[in-house]
Point group: C2
Chain length 218, copies 2
């Protein structure tokens, strides 16, 4: 199969491709993988050789369909392990990412499919991100940033754009964990901060910066 390192590059390219249709640049990959551009170029040659990416010198890269499959499979494993850690071992949602970074490289189709069944075939990980099924299919939900909502609109917190432990801990403190129902009560013009009602009870104001990183289903 692919090496630990190759897998991490594939995953990085996949995440950088999400949303935009553009090719991914060498520097973007270097930043995401904490390496230098020269190292990335070397690896890109190798991945292109293996037909996992489309690579033209100076023009950036896209994943081939084989490459997408490989990346999605790693993401499937990552997210299922995160669910396991939270649901079965009692970890908190801000504690599981680093361990899942290791577990996602364990190689066994049977293992991951049995884990999937054991967990009850979850559709989302502890951060609300969708879990690809065993055929690689991802069911994306229509999510909106709180910062894009209008006064009076309501929704359910269902995802985050920022996965750092500090941010996730903050959301807990604010009572804005997944599943929480919110209603926008006021948009403060002065600094863009947002007043909202949480679970029909608490009234709270959050900064635009925080609002941009919380995703809701309307």
């Amino acid at each position: 199969m692919h090496s630990f390192t190759e897998e991490n590059y594939l995953k990085a390219i996949y995440h950088l491709s999400e949303g935009n249709t553009m090719a991914v640049s060498t520097n973007q990959i270097a930043e995401m993988t904490n390496t230098k551009a020269a190292s990335v170029t070397d690896m890109l040659k190798k991945l292109a050789e293996k037909k996992l990416i489309n690579y033209i010198k100076y023009q950036g890269v896209t994943l081939t369909s084989t490459g997408v499959n490989a990346a999605v499979n790693i993401i499937r494993k990552h997210r299922l392990w995160e669910v396991f850690l939270v649901e079965k071992l009692g970890f908190k949602w801000d504690e599981v990412h680093d361990i899942a970074e290791e577990l996602e490289h364990i190689n066994s189709e049977t293992l991951i499919n049995r884990l999937d069944d054991f967990l009850g075939n979850p559709v989302a990980d502890p951060h609300g991100d969708p879990i690809p099924d065993r055929s690689g299919l991802i069911k994306h939900k229509k999510l909106v940033k709180i910062s894009e909502m209008q006064t009076g609109e309501s929704g359910t917190v269902s995802g985050v754009n920022e996965h750092s432990s500090v941010f996730l801990k903050l959301l807990e403190k604010l009572g804005l964990t997944l599943g929480t129902k919110i209603i926008i009560s006021e948009l403060i013009e002065f600094d863009g901060s947002i007043m909202l009602t949480i679970d029909q009870k608490t009234e709270r104001t959050i900064s635009r910066e925080v609002a941009k990183n919380i995703l809701v289903i309307l």
Copy 2:
């Protein structure tokens, strides 16, 4: 911490040291790790440098107490993951070793201790091998090979000396899985094979070779 490879060498040295008090030889390690003696020598220098082994040129190696701790911790992880795979994911006892070889290198003290609790702090893995507790303590049971038992003696199958899938599948076919009660009915002088009664019901003959690899508690 230690690299994947270093961990595998430590584990190999530990297993080769079990039982005998002698120092372990370069060739033994090479055989166990599927490498060549020259590669082993290189690694031994490195492990000695890190104070994980006592190494004198041409004289073989022993683990230091730091080395033993490291090795025991890997074995703890290996065996707990094996229990998880069998008890929670429904794998059979002959299917889990290779996956556990990968999982044993996942680095998280918290993870493994929570897994331990989740599994109900098992004392033995699916092959009957003892699981070190979080302080590294191993409770060895007094086990006897069937080949060393006398006519009339009885006991409970509680371990194996051979972990290959073919052997484990054979034991299942013979009805000699862990927990099975046996009574020695006759020792066949001609070829050393052994007749025994399984669970007070079935009468069976097994070869000396098979008998040598089944361990019982009297």
